[in-house]
Amino acid sequence: MSECIIRNPRLAWREVDGEMIIISPDGQVHELNETATLVWKNAAGDKGLEEIAGEIATEYDVTLEVARTDLAELLAVLETKQLLDVGMLGKD
């Protein structure tokens, strides 16, 4: 079973000019750049991390290894901010 990412359902978010603006329940405003926005759009819990890393690698023409590293670093930050969780694909 592979890992996936799931957005915190308590957040409000909108894509503006290709980048995501997110408001936390505490009123904090976060802004994601284009790459992080791509990850955010894939954070519905229905796609594995490996698949998301593959999309990053394709979209930005980087190696899968670089994409995996960037993705891992981003997820660590987003988890710390309680913007999303890493879960298991296919698990309710």
């Binding site: 409000a12 603006i21 802004e31 750049n33 930005y60 670093e73």
Partner: protein
Amino acid sequence: MAKETGRACLSVIGSAKQASRDTGFAAIRDIACVQGGLRGLVHSVNHAGGSAPLQISIGSVPLSLFIREAALHVQAVKRYSEFFQDSSNALPILLNHRKAGAPGPCEFSYTLDDATLFFGSRRAEFLGVRNEYAMDSLLRILLTVVLLPQRGFLLHAATVVRDGRAYIFAGRSGAGKSTVASLSPEGNVLTDEISLLRYSNGCWQAHGTPFWGEFRAAGSNRQFPVAGIYSLVQAGSDRVESLSAKQALRALLPCVLFFTSENDSHEALLMMLLNLIGEIPCHRLHFRRKAEFWKVIAA
């Protein structure tokens, strides 16, 4: 050619709620020099059974203030004299009618220092209000909640009227809102501290508010269509820079007074602001704190 990956990152660009805290007691100035006279004193105070409700309207939101304490009533009369307006469907606000505790199920509550606001579908209650500043702060908070479903909000901004249209100058404390107001023709300043924007009659309108800063004016209950929004930046020369939707949202969000933590409300706020940004030109105004800045404002 490979696109710039711009390593995925996250930046925190401010806190709407922290911005709102600027409206706390400390940010509210002395209003001893209230203008507008004391005509509101016609609202009588019944010391035996409480006061007659003070009927006001702010941003076309009718409110009925029920104030038992005579001193608070007099202060409210002075503070809101320009906003008296009778209405049969005003939202009742009960001030200090109980000692403590929630009045039952409520849609929203908020505590600021020792004062607490409870808001339900049919009325609001303020508890622990010791002075006019606490009353005023809770009133601002209540308005943010009441206005949101009506496509309205409060913004840290000065509003100046020119040729019948409202120019909004947004910024946090120290950005220059009061300076802009002081450098504008007397009588044209709708507010120097908290602006009220609301979509009505097919366009965005700026309403006068009683929430003033250094000008210490009583405000005026008028409304004007919004011509443009200018995010204030102090600089060595005057110039105007157009903002993209993202830049405008980034500039406005930290200036919006907002107190709820529900994501539905945050969604509504984002939708409303994006609608505003889509309809109203948004700019960054670099200015020298001199009256010449009006020369670079598009007519």
